[in-house]
Symmetry: C2
Subunit: 202 residues, 2 copies
């Protein structure tokens, strides 16, 4: 099996879904940009939705290599890693003049009646993301209050990222992202202070 053509299709589809969304990306958009002919595409993918599934699988399998590792290079402190990841999204916003949107979040909101397979993959991508954050929180658990629900906090950080990106993109203004992250930082500062207070009591 020729994995080269298949990969070119997937890479191109990733780009286009990110730029224009799933619905607004036509098969012929994918074909012309990837220099592949329709017969080849349909040789590898039964239909358009299967291209989407392939893209979501690629995101799912590539989170470590393409998202976490680049953003965590040289960052050791587990709680710093969280804000380093968020800074990575900020960089994307800067580079795209606040046009960037989280590809998973955009697809999750665009696709209203998803095929179960698609929905599961969207959820799996969210789960992988918050699991990575969860790992950071566990690593820094000594600086958080003892009764912190670290899973919920990880999901909450995903929420803040998605909402912050959404607003920055809608307003075309990085300030909305920065202020949101500042609020999250404040929440963390309060949590860490609380944790210190707990420790001095004992």
């Amino acid at each position: 099996m020729n994995a080269d053509t298949r990969n070119r299709i997937l890479m191109t589809a990733m780009e286009l879904f990110w730029e224009k969304g799933y619905g607004s990306t036509s098969i012929s958009d994918i074909l012309s940009r990837s220099q592949v002919h329709s017969g080849s595409l349909y040789h590898f993918f039964p239909g358009k939705q299967d291209v989407l599934i392939g893209v979501l699988e690629a995101y799912r399998d590539g989170i470590e290599e393409w998202l976490l590792r680049p953003n965590w290079e040289g960052v050791d402190d587990p709680l710093d890693k969280i804000f380093a990841l968020l800074a990575g999204y900020r960089t994307h916003l800067v580079l795209t003049e606040c046009t960037y949107g989280c590809p998973i979040g955009s697809l999750a909101l665009e696709i209203h009646e998803p095929d179960p397979r698609v929905r599961e993959l969207l959820a799996a991508n969210f789960t992988n993301w918050s699991a990575a954050i969860r790992g950071c929180l566990d690593g820094g658990s000594d600086r958080l209050p003892r009764d912190t629900d670290r899973q919920a906090l990880a999901e909450y950080i995903l929420t803040v990222m998605e909402g912050a990106v959404m607003q920055a993109r809608t307003y075309r203004d990085l300030g909305y992202f920065d202020r949101n992250i500042a609020m999250l930082r404040q929440h963390f500062a309060l949590l860490e202070r609380e944790a210190r207070a707990e420790r001095t009591v004992n």
Copy 2:
């Protein structure tokens, strides 16, 4: 001018954009559900995008009547109002079996290259929403730390709502919404405690 037909078109388009999104809603979807013929629609709206603009204007102008007033009935405390509004979104999620999405947020993420008018209206809707929250925060400012950036905090609450709805919808699980709101409540609890500490010092 016959505002009845125009309104029926707008109401139907609101429903459909919310159910299926903008791109996946065809003009003929709107026509068949609203019992209007294409000529009438194009008599009132130059094109599909102008229907979207009409819908966004209706949301903008109806926030008080359709969103705030119903959710704030019988709620006086300004900070309680914030969580009453969030509870309203929770109710929508319950009633739709976690299929609900914030219509503005969904459109904001779906439409990737928006016409300036559309983008401005999406932003205006966000601004109105956070302005309402901002009003609550101002009303309860005596229970918040003195240096609180209440505008940023209002935007942050919008962020949390959007992210929480997004996750609950993607997972089809209300728990994701509830845990997110619980985290926000915790943040507020910490802020209020801080404010109390400030007051006792003086």
